[in-house]
Amino acid sequence: MFNKVLIANRGEIAVRVIRACKDLRIKTVAVYSTADANALHVHLADESVCLGKGPSKESYLNIPAIISAAEITDAEAIHPGYGFLSENSHFAEVCQSCRIKFIGPQPEVMRMMGDKVQAIRLAQRAKVPTNAGSNGPIENEKHAVEVAKKIGYPVIIKASAGGGGRGMRIAHTNISLTQAVQAARTEAEAAFGNPEVYIEKYVEEPRHVEVQLLGDEHGNIVILGERDCSIQRLHQKLIEESPCSILSSKHRKILERYAYKLAKEANYTSAGTIEFLMDKNGNFYFMEMNTRIQVEHPVTEITMDIDLVREQILIASGAKLSLSKRVFNPRGHALECRINAEDPENSFRPSPGLIVNYHAPGGTGIRVDTHIYTGYRVPPYYDSLLMKLIAYGHTRDEAIRRMLRALDETVIDGIRTTIPFLKNILRSESFQKGHYSTRFIEKYFQAQKNHAVSSESK
């Protein structure tokens, strides 16, 4: 086991990793920027080293400074957290060459998963479905029909130069496809001056469902259930849960088998997450693999009764996975809300500044992961995550009740936060019934807008 670990991160995840190290009797080194001199992770670590100025490039992305910090403090391993250098295979290689253990997968695996084309090829080798279609521009109508035949209808035609929905067409049959390709070409030509289009599988009413797994250096892989992260705003997750409330046990088994095959094919080590889209019929399509601990890992920790960061550290130290089974059943239901320093009433613009009063919620079934405290000044340089609130219940309904109770108890004064927005989502009927797709937030705002318009017209 390591004697000392350096945490190359900040915020709640740095605090999270320090806690796991303390529980394992491992000494900790915090690194920080001058903007984070008063940060909680600096306060909680056994030692700390200032890396450079506030902007990430000069501190948390400054590889030489981080490696030097590990060297001068004799840290034997580096935990990268999430974000920053956590999926940087070059950084993992530098650690290796400096004989510092990078707590994560092998650099080659990180590089492969970081490259969309390679990752999709891997999935195809593992016989895991993807939403890949033509993998490049389609040449003509015949080519389009061939691709559609291979991947199955419905398909979506997208402009290579496109974006924002323009030049997009959905087709359900060969006939509608040939028409749609022509129409899309014309629209793309008009809109972007480039008629090139490509084809992908069209995922109807998609849910974002991801699988947590662990692999050790002895070839063992365990699958730790799934998380549903469909509540997103501009691809940023807001609320995550485990298990996915609409997944049948039959579909869960299929999903777990896909994840297992993919991780096996990649020879995966450490904690990792495989993200899928699930359509309304329960078909899964591989999107990507995240080769790090994820923000939303606590919901899995609670339903699976496991400490994932602890397992990452144990795996990196060469330990065999102590888990006896390959697949585990979740216990109860867990939700996570991300409380961000953003103003939900003003287009979610960042709201850094001084927290004049902070009070944490507590009681049955509540876990709080945060780096904030009364008197903490949220710096403007980094992401806006202030706090992760995790609620556990025997049922999804109980978890929602407890989450609402905890959000009501939480006091963060001095800056704007997303708490009111999160409460509205949790209280909405479609969330409570589990009837939604990744377009939930978009629809939510549309509904609000319509409501506002209809109110005005009265």
Partner: protein
């Protein structure tokens, strides 16, 4: 926790204690941070009364009858005291004026990177500088080893070396003062 490895113990401790000193769970509004710090100062001293005045700020504190009645006055210069930032610090507000009386024009040269500080180009060689030396702009102050690379640190200001703060072979973090010079 176990004690740090013996060979680096002192410097690691100093890194650590420095971080600790910066840390304070502040809870008052920024405007009163200065008052809080002033109270801390009083608490850690034998003061009975404290007056402070600067630009638009005035503070007056007096201890209760249970306090230690030793009327001492605190000499206050016109040093710049950063206001409003909760980032605390006894260090900023206190040690600055103490270490730096109003007529003190010395300058601290800070480390531009994390690494190990060396005072000479090789173990057997003479140090680049010694206390009392007159130094020129561009003259080498020392070397910081980071990721096996030796980075020469140069003076960007000329003057007389008053104090060398980091011993040879010791680790330094970003912004850590290395040398105090009295500029020309």
């Amino acid at each position: 926790m176990a004690s740090p490895n013996s060979d680096k113990a002192p410097s690691e401790k100093s890194l650590k204690s420095k971080a600790k000193k910066k840390q304070s769970y502040v809870k008052v509004c920024p405007e009163l941070k200065m008052v809080q710090d002033a109270i801390l100062l009083m608490d850690s001293s034998e003061l009975y009364e404290l007056h402070f005045e600067q630009d638009h700020v005035k503070i007056y504190l007096r201890r209760g009858p249970n306090g230690i009645p030793m009327p001492v006055h605190m000499p206050l210069g016109g040093a710049n005291i950063p206001m409003a930032v909760p980032s605390a610090s006894a260090e900023n507000t206190v040690s600055a004026p103490e270490n730096k009386p109003p007529d003190d024009k010395t300058v601290k040269i800070e480390s531009p990177m994390v690494g190990t500080f060396y005072r000479s180009p090789s173990p057997d060689a003479k140090p680049f500088i010694n206390e009392g030396d007159e130094v020129q702009v561009g003259q080498i102050l020392g070397i910081i080893e980071a990721m096996k690379l030796m980075n020469e640190i140069k003076f960007e200001i000329a003057g007389r070396v008053v104090k060398i703060l980091v011993p040879n072979g010791h680790p330094v973090e970003f912004g850590q003062p290395l040398v105090i010079i009295d500029p020309k």
